[in-house]
Amino acid sequence: MASKKFLYVNRKAPHGSIYALESLEVVLIGAAFEQEVTLAFVDDGVYQLLQNQDSSALGSKNFSPTYRALGDYDVNRIFVERESLELRGLAKEDLMPLTWEDEDDDWAEKDSIHVVSSKELAEIIEQQDVLLNF
């Protein structure tokens, strides 16, 4: 069977609920299935990618470092909606610098995160086969 295009749509903030963490767990397991994986962060989902998250005072697991490993799992198509960022007074620089190494380009380190317009994200959604929401 030809591989399918999976899109994981993340719209919820981390820590206030488990959706961010459990969504990430699906992505990591899913990476082994050799499908084409894309992540979208929209609305409060953009907060999942904020730098400097430290949940130690909450006594809960800080899973934000796991996003940095996505590149190693060949998950490098990560789209963040510009409008969601702007509404929240955020810019790409506020997000974790997620990267991946392109073996077809001499292992050059490249950005995994692409900030896109709503129109561009709408097109990306249309191109997918399986849409997962959490």
């Binding site: 459990e22 699906v26 499908q35 849409l131």
Partner: protein
């Protein structure tokens, strides 16, 4: 067509499980196949054997077991989500040293890979959540 259903919320608190159930039943009635119903997040709570709802209301958990039996459906509870929330089958309970297990008939505990596979095998994957 082949459908996979994802249920992200538990019984009663959210309508997700009800909507998913009615959708699944309608799909079966229309002659479609269900690859599997995958329960994630609090959705694993639909798999409890111990729910005792009031007599005058629908039995969300039992209803899934019955539908599964009628149509040989695969009802999968994600193992990680289930462990976190205390939904254990006999093997899990023994492994974890717990004094009891609580999975309802028709439900099976399995890995997240089943969700990805559900997406790969089906023509359509529908998500019900909050």
């Amino acid at each position: 067509m082949k459908f996979s259903i994802m249920v992200n919320e538990g019984p009663y608190t959210h309508q997700a499980s009800d909507s998913a159930y009615h959708f699944t039943a309608a799909a079966l009635k229309a002659g479609h196949q269900i690859v599997r119903v995958f329960f994630y997040h609090d959705g694993v709570n639909n798999g409890t054997r111990l729910s005792v709802p009031p007599q005058d209301d629908r039995n969300v958990c039992a209803r899934w077991s019955e539908l599964a039996q009628q149509h040989q459906l695969e009802l999968i509870l994600c193992v990680a989500a289930a462990q976190r929330r205390g939904l254990l089958d006999q093997d899990e309970a023994k492994r974890a040293g717990k004094d009891s297990d609580n999975i309802a008939p028709g439900f099976e505990i399995s890995g997240l890979g089943q969700l990805i596979d559900a997406g790969i095998q089906a023509d359509r994957l529908i998500v019900f959540g909050d």
